[in-house]
């Protein structure tokens, strides 16, 4: 983004280095970028809340909101306006200052992540060379916000929710972080764009199918991302059946909408990161990044949009998977959650990192082995997906129903 602003200043006839107002231009640029990104996050979380209610309804054999706007699409606007108009009361024994500031901490933690999240070939706020490290660091702010909200609501149930969520997010950052080390090692850089460029457009070029450890790392990362986003099966902090709604029980109105925004916005962040690291991000199959950079004029714009679409489709698929998981699995207990993190995920992720280190040496020595592994893993992946699809169709026939995706929307 900085390069873009420098060209702008040069076209206007000044030299960015010497011109006294460059800092103001940078500031304005950052403001505009922040505006775009935060609006995207807000709208994305609104749409995801509508999408989740529709997906959940369809899974539970009911219909979901379909009255406001076409297929209920404007439902989230109605919800947002309602939340804004509702009175956001503060319980009188609550710790006034902490209670009011907690949502903003969460909001800051959530929005900072978008700085290094790519959207397409060139659409990224700032392609820092420490992108992944920055993302892992910033998500820790959300934990602070949650604990503040839980503690300051002065209700035993909120306190339970906050302490549970603190234990969960902090302990799952370790396996999540280690799992992300594997793509960094494979790509040799921590910048998100760099990692995408190190992969290719076709499935066997993705890091997911690069080696078994990377394959396992993807699932480890995905599980810990679920835990960090407080999504089922780890939604202990706001366990409806035990703590009513955990840390955000006492919130209402505008403040509650921040919690709402962070929870659903996190879906995009989680899936975008997974796609960037393991599934080749915006890479267009058959078009290598170098030729992509060389494109100019109309084809560049088309390729740009193409890469945006590919990235968005992959991310939306994973957003759907997260929602689908929520409406299938029960919730695990707090001690099981801790034992799963420390006894299962942490050892696996450490073993994965060591395996990849050794694996990279082997591949240097015998590159054909790398290729063979990639093809076998891709084949295994494709096979499981096919078997799963057959199993789904068999489920439908087993109970005597018909395949019907069109009626009763």
């Amino acid at each position: 983004m900085q390069g873009f602003l420098d060209n702008l200043i040069r076209n206007a006839g000044h030299d960015p280095a010497t011109w006294p107002y460059t800092q103001f231009v940078y500031l304005a640029g950052m403001a505009v970028a922040a505006l775009i990104v935060i609006n995207f996050a807000a709208i994305a979380s609104g749409i995801f809340s509508w999408a989740e209610r529709r997906v959940a309804a369809r899974i539970q054999s009911r219909v979901g909101p379909n009255r406001v706007g076409p297929a209920g699409f404007l439902q989230w606007i109605a919800d947002a306006v309602k939340l804004l108009l509702k009175e956001d009361l503060v319980p009188d024994e609550a710790d006034q200052f902490l209670f009011r500031i907690a949502p903003y901490f969460m909001m800051v933690g959530f929005c900072c992540v978008f700085v290094t999240l790519p959207f397409s070939h060139s659409l990224i706020v700032a392609d820092m060379n420490i992108g992944v490290f920055y993302i892992i660091a910033v998500t820790a702010l959300i934990v602070v916000g949650i604990i503040m909200s839980g503690w300051s609501s002065n209700s035993k149930w909120s306190l339970f929710g906050a302490i549970r969520s603190a234990a969960q997010i902090i302990s799952y950052e370790i396996p999540g972080g280690m799992a992300l080390m594997i793509p960094v090692m494979l790509a040799g850089t921590m910048s998100t764009q760099g990692i995408i460029r190190a992969q290719g457009g076709l499935p066997w070029q993705w890091f997911l199918f690069d080696n078994p450890a990377a394959f396992a790392a993807f699932f480890i990362y995905f599980t810990s991302a679920l835990a960090e986003g407080n999504r089922t099966p780890f939604d202990l902090p706001e366990a409806e059946s035990e703590l009513v709604s955990g840390y955000n029980t006492e919130y209402s109105g505008m403040r509650f909408s921040y919690f709402f925004l962070v929870e659903w916005g996190n879906l995009w962040v989680m899936s975008a990161l997974a796609v960037t690291m393991f599934l080749g991000g915006w890479q267009i199959p058959g078009l290598s990044p170098e030729r992509f950079d060389a494109l100019t004029g109309g084809t560049a714009v088309v390729a740009e949009i193409g890469s945006l679409l590919i990235f968005a489709l992959k991310t939306l698929f994973f957003v759907f998977v997260v929602m689908w998981l929520r409406w299938t699995l029960p919730r695990i207990r707090i001690d099981q959650m801790m034992s799963m993190c420390w006894k299962y995920l942490v050892p696996a992720s450490f073993a994965g990192v060591l395996f990849v280190a050794v694996w990279m040496l082997i591949v240097n020595a015998a590159p054909w082995l790398g290729l063979a592994m990639r093809f076998t893993l891709t084949a295994v992946g494709a096979l499981t997906i096919a078997m799963f699809a057959l199993r789904v169709l068999k489920n439908i026939r087993d109970t005597g129903d018909k395949f019907d995706f069109t009626s009763n929307w």
Partner: protein
């Protein structure tokens, strides 16, 4: 704890074995669970979007026996109040105006309210109704502006009471309006604000309970019927007709006989002596039947003597039924018969029935007998002379016992 026993079983497999087993089990069960939920994404959801996006309107999907709001077709309602007695929570409220059948119709209903807000739709009122006037409709949409609107008034105007329907003999099908028609018309009034209810103080000023014009004078009619009964004493069918006139004539069967004819015929044949079995007739028909019975026994129609206890308004607003505890209230008492006491005129069995009938019937055992049955047997068969032992019956029973056994007034207590 029992759990450690399972735990040690796992240790035998080795920690790594348990590790792999857990991961494999989780993966397999997630696979099963996820495939089931995804399969529901591709099936038609089951819910139907009531009220406006229904494929077929909701009223047709409701089965025939559905118990919705109640509906009473006043044209075939015989005012027997069987539904009011059957309702466990007294949701149905009926006020009856009695008439002598000539100038004023015998039974008129001044008020027939059902408090739908309190009704629990149990269907117990529909079963005893002789003509099927009260039925459950299939209406269920009960949104209403104010709670008090929830009362269905089947007598629209209190000034035009509805005459009770007299079912033709042996009829088993009764013409009735289309089910739900009346209730739907009443439901339309639910959206209106409720009528302004007068405060309790204003109502008190309106002299609650003043006798109304055209009401029946029970004592006079009783004497009239008794005189006619005396003339046709031998001709049993005519006697039966006169006795039936003293009853409510609703053939509701609460007296244990199939209909009024059965009960009145039993009295005419002398098989039955009780006078309070006619529940819908209540205190009025009880008083009239007593007058007739006493006249038949003594052969003299009791004149309007000074001792007549004026019973205030006959058929006024208070519940004209026998109060539920079964203890008969101090009802209108006909003046003392002048003839010989019943003890001499009746046979032992008939006398035993009349004596038993005179008692309170609470089997309380205060008279040192096990129950009323024992005490009356004691009086009739074992010559028990102390007639003051029936505590719950109190003065009322004491007077009757003395009158039946000795034909005199009891000595002042």
């Amino acid at each position: 704890m029992a759990e450690t026993q399972a735990q040690s079983g796992r240790q035998a497999e080795g920690a790594f074995g348990a590790y792999v087993k857990n991961v494999r089990d989780s993966a397999k069960s997630f696979w099963e669970g996820m495939s089931v939920t995804l399969s529901y994404m591709f099936r038609k959801p089951i819910t139907s979007q009531y009220p406006d996006r229904m494929s077929v309107s909701v009223n047709h999907t409701i089965p025939a026996r559905y118990r919705g709001f109640l509906e009473v077709d006043m044209d075939i309602c015989t005012a027997c109040q069987a539904c009011e007695r059957a309702c466990p929570i007294q949701v149905i409220n009926i006020d009856i105006l009695k008439g002598d059948g000539k100038l004023v119709p015998k039974l008129r209903m001044e008020r027939f309210d059902i408090d739908i807000g309190k009704c629990m739709y149990c269907g117990l009122c529909v079963e005893p109704c002789p003509t099927g006037a009260i039925q459950h409709t299939r209406e269920f949409e009960g949104a209403v502006m104010h709670f008090n609107n929830l009362t269905l008034r089947f007598v629209p105007d209190v000034l035009q009471p509805v005459v009770a329907y007299k079912p033709p003999k042996g009829a088993d099908a009764f013409p009735r309006k289309q089910l739900g028609e009346i209730t739907r018309s009443l439901i339309k009034a639910w959206d209106a604000p409720p009528p302004p209810f007068p405060s309790k103080e204003e109502a008190a000023k309106a002299e609650h309970g003043k006798p109304k014009a055209g009401a029946l004078d029970v004592a006079a009619m009783g004497r009239q019927l008794a005189a006619r009964a005396l003339q046709v004493k031998e001709d049993k069918p005519k006697l039966q007709k006169v006795i039936e006139e003293a009853m409510a004539g609703t053939d509701c069967g609460d007296c244990g006989y199939p209909d009024c004819f059965g009960y009145s015929d039993a009295i005419a044949q002398g098989k039955d002596f009780s006078s309070e079995k006619c529940a819908p007739g209540g205190a009025d028909s009880k008083a009239m039947l007593e007058t007739i019975l006493v006249t038949l026994k003594t052969g003299v129609v009791p004149g309007p003597g000074a001792g007549e206890v004026s019973d205030g308004s006959a058929g006024g607003h208070h519940k004209n039924m026998v109060s539920p505890e079964g203890v008969s209230p101090v009802s209108t008492e006909v003046e003392k018969p002048t003839g010989p006491p019943l003890a001499q005129t009746l046979s032992k069995d008939e006398l035993y029935k009349v004596v038993l009938d005179a008692m309170a019937g609470t089997d309380c055992g205060d008279c040192e007998y096990a129950d009323c049955d024992g005490y009356s047997k004691g009086i009739v068969y074992e010559g028990q002379t102390d007639l003051n032992r029936c505590a719950p019956g109190g003065e009322d029973t004491r007077v009757k016992l003395y009158e039946i056994m000795l034909g005199t007034k009891p000595p002042a207590k």
